[in-house]
């Protein structure tokens, strides 16, 4: 009787053990979304990946590393540009710089996580996908940084053009004193000054639109709002760029107009001229 009990207990234990292996195997298939030919489970719980799956994971890691590297490179170039910004308030510059540094750190952490994953193909897939879906670098941080840099450039060019406009104003006044008709050139200068004022407004508008934006973190409504704001700011910058080129062209035309009226001025003659800017 004792012998019989021992045999039946052994059978029950064996059945339980086989059942456990079956459950582990089924769970592995469901989690990874792979066939049992790709993954097999051992009684010790270790998961062995087929050569095909391992090759796929290696390829995924290579793609991810390349994409992360591309983003880090872009972020590094952007932070270099942001550090050279001079015509933007320090608060804006600091905030942009902090965001970029934070994204670089996040990308490095993600890279380490992806590179270290040699067993979980599903988690790897999610991490690779998150490079674009969760880390909204190209969706917000980089365009935001470039827009701030563009506003800086707009203000830089506007300031330089304002200096030239003042110099041209002096030259036109000298022409009037010499009895020349300066009306056409004065109209051009007035247009140039209007354009300089306009580009400052456009630059400020672009800054005001994008400064309060924050990452969407998967919120589609916020994502669309961010995209619209960035696109609007981009349009402002494009208009400003066109106006700056037009103002620069006007300056050139005024200078040529002065020459045509016999009002050229050499450097030596200019050196005795009164100070233009206070």
């Amino acid at each position: 009787m004792k012998k019989l009990n021992l045999i039946s207990t052994s059978f029950i234990l064996a059945a339980v053990a086989f059942g456990a292996v079956g459950i582990v195997s089924a769970q592995t298939e469901n989690t990874a979304g792979l066939t049992s030919a790709s993954i097999s489970a051992t009684t010790t719980g270790a998961v062995k990946l087929s050569a095909k799956v391992q090759a796929k994971m290696t390829k995924m890691i290579q793609v991810a590393d390349k994409e992360i590297g591309r983003r880090i490179d872009t972020l590094n170039k952007l932070i270099e540009r942001v550090n050279n910004i001079k015509k933007i308030a320090d608060t804006d510059k600091g905030a942009i710089s902090a965001n970029i540094q934070s994204e670089i750190a996040s990308m490095n952490t993600l890279k380490a996580k992806i590179d270290g994953n040699t067993t979980d193909v599903e988690a790897l897939g999610s991490d690779v996908k998150s490079i674009t879906s969760s880390y909204r670098i190209f969706a917000l941080v980089i365009p935001q940084g470039h827009i701030m840099a563009s506003v800086d450039s707009i203000n830089t060019v506007a300031d330089k053009l304002a200096v030239i406009a003042t110099k041209l104003q002096t030259r036109l006044a000298e022409g009037t004193t010499a009895g020349k008709d300066m009306s056409k050139l004065e109209a051009k200068l007035a247009d140039m000054n209007t354009k300089i004022a306009d580009v400052r407004t456009q630059g400020q508008a672009a800054r005001d639109i994008i400064a309060p934006l924050v990452p969407d973190e998967g919120d589609k409504t916020k994502m669309e709002a961010n995209k619209t704001a960035l696109t609007t700011a981009r349009k402002d910058i494009k208009t400003a760029e066109t106006d700056l080129k037009s103002a620069r062209k006007s300056a050139d035309e005024i200078l040529k107009g002065l020459k045509a009226l016999g009002l050229s001025k050499s450097a030596s003659a200019s050196s005795t001229a009164p100070a233009v800017l206070q």
Binding site: K59, A98, K129, T132, S150, L244, R248
Partner: protein, 97 residues
Amino acid sequence: MSSSKAVTVIVVILVIVGGIWYFTGSKTGQTGANAVLGTENQIATTTPVVEDPTIKDVSDDQINNDLSGIDDSLKTLGSDAAGIDQSLNDKAIPQVQ
């Protein structure tokens, strides 16, 4: 426990809670990831450097030099603007089959 001891214990607890709240608040107030940019009026305007002798030079040559400087700055603006377009047109990573 006497009432004076109870009051002391409550005061100590309030000081500890207040201290934790203060330090946590000051840390979250620091500039961190994805900080929202300042809302105050931001663009710093700069006045031309008075000491620069070229500012007083209104000759044709100097104005042409100034215009060359504008062209360089416009190139930088073009590069910044191209960066915006490039980032806005970024595509999702193709998945490995």
